[in-house]
Amino acid sequence: MDIFTILVLLLKGFLVTLLIFAGTLIGSLPLGIVVGLMRLSRLKLVSGVARVFISIMRGTPLMLQLLAIFFGPYFLFGIRLSSEWKIAACLLAFILNYSAYFAEIYRSGLQSIPKGQTEACKVLGYTKSQTFFQILLPQVIKRILPAMANEIITLVKDTSLAFVIGISELMSQAKAISAAEVSMIPFALAALIYWVFNTVVERVLNQIETRMGYYHE
């Protein structure tokens, strides 16, 4: 196999990586807000549920969560696992796991906004959801962007864990080709692809940060 063929195969794997990456962000960024708000709820039951969820998701390996969610239906109910379920289970595990991390970031961001902002909204007559979406969230996003960037870059690399449930993303492609060809080159190329992609992600995040720089506190 020449380098070009290897690269084409790896890029096919990268498309799957990209799918997991994008799918996880689309699902977990909003879900994280929900979990974060639940965590801050004054209702003990609601905040307790969120607290336990976050604790389990952050306290156990993502690899284990992937395996548990993927094989769960078979071991619990004897359901045969389809290949569509494979990618769905993968996305589900990633979204749940990352929403827990994002929830904690949103929570810390929300708590860092001065109380006067909420009070001003109260006096002006904003409802709770108007206060959140119009006034708090835009300010929270600016504050949490650096922490978010960290998680998002980690996510790019974490997608490689999908290989434990047999999804042919970039990492499993590299491993398969390397074994077949008895060569290090596929790994080196995979590393290069991850790194280039992360550089792009970093650029985009920096740009957003710059765009949010129009105001200070």
């Binding site: 001003a120 006096v123 002006l124 119009q134 105001y215 200070h216």
Partner: protein, 249 residues
């Protein structure tokens, strides 16, 4: 022309064992500059926050015009959520720290509440905001963000934001605390202009010179009680209570 805008009776409030407000009665009539003075720790700001519905009274009755915000049931103040929401159209508050929205421009700080709370059309809101900004000499700063404004300008923007909502009574919490002498003079002028337009105000301050300058009606508060009330000249020139005499001399 002398309607009661605000009526508070037998109001109490404590934080833990600390009894902050003791049996407060207060009636504010339309069209006057009311100033609440007193030493720090007297409970002035807590009273203003409770009137702004940021804190709740433990007992007592509060109504804005004909809206009964809270009533006494078995010695406890029970708030009516709908009345709370409705009464917010009657009062406005200029915070001590202004609490402007840092991510919105001066113009947007005014249009956002108009569009979001009053459901006003965008263009109508903008016209209204420009008009209020002009009134407070901030028209040239309309596209500035709060961090680009000076302390005095920020306060005027906070006043503009509150005014645009067309309150019938405007509250000020310690408005002179962040201002130098010149700015206090400017603020006095702004307040007198607003009074000319028949806006009712209630101002909490410990700045006696400023109070003397702007007040029509003065309330003296100490240790959680309103000890004396009267016109500006009654309180500042012929105070009856010894505590008031001690404070203003």
């Amino acid at each position: 022309m002398n309607n009661v805008l605000l009526k508070l009776s037998a109001a109490n409030k404590s934080f833990g064992n600390n009894h902050i407000l003791k049996d407060i009665d207060l009636e504010i009539h339309e069209g006057k500059v009311n100033v609440l003075i007193g030493p720090s720790g007297a409970g002035k700001s807590t009273l203003l926050r409770a009137l702004s519905l940021l804190e709740s009274f433990e007992s007592g009755e509060l109504s804005y015009k004909d809206i009964k915000v809270c009533t006494n049931v078995d010695g406890k103040a029970i708030y009516d959520e709908q009345a709370v929401q409705k009464s917010k159209e009657i009062f406005g508050l200029v915070f001590q720290q202004f609490n402007l929205f840092p991510h919105l421009s001066a113009l947007e700080n005014i249009t956002n509440p108009l569009c979001v709370v009053k459901k006003m059309d965008k263009d109508v809101a903008k016209q209204k905001a420009l008009c209020v900004l002009d009134k407070l000499q901030l028209l040239s700063k309309k596209d500035f963000y709060p961090w680009q404004l000076s302390g005095g300008q920020r306060q005027r923007l906070a006043i503009a934001r509150a005014l645009a909502m067309e309150p019938e009574i405007l509250y000020f919490d310690e408005p002179t605390s962040a201002l130098d002498k010149q700015l206090v003079t400017d603020l006095s002028k702004t307040i007198k202009d607003l009074a000319q337009d028949n806006l009712t105000m209630l101002i909490v301050t410990h700045d006696l010179d400023f109070a003397r300058e702007v007040a029509d009606q003065v309330y003296y508060m100490e240790a959680g009680r309103i000890i004396e009330e009267g016109t500006s000249s009654e309180i500042f020139e012929r105070p009856k209570q010894s505590l008031t005499q001690a404070f203003i001399s």
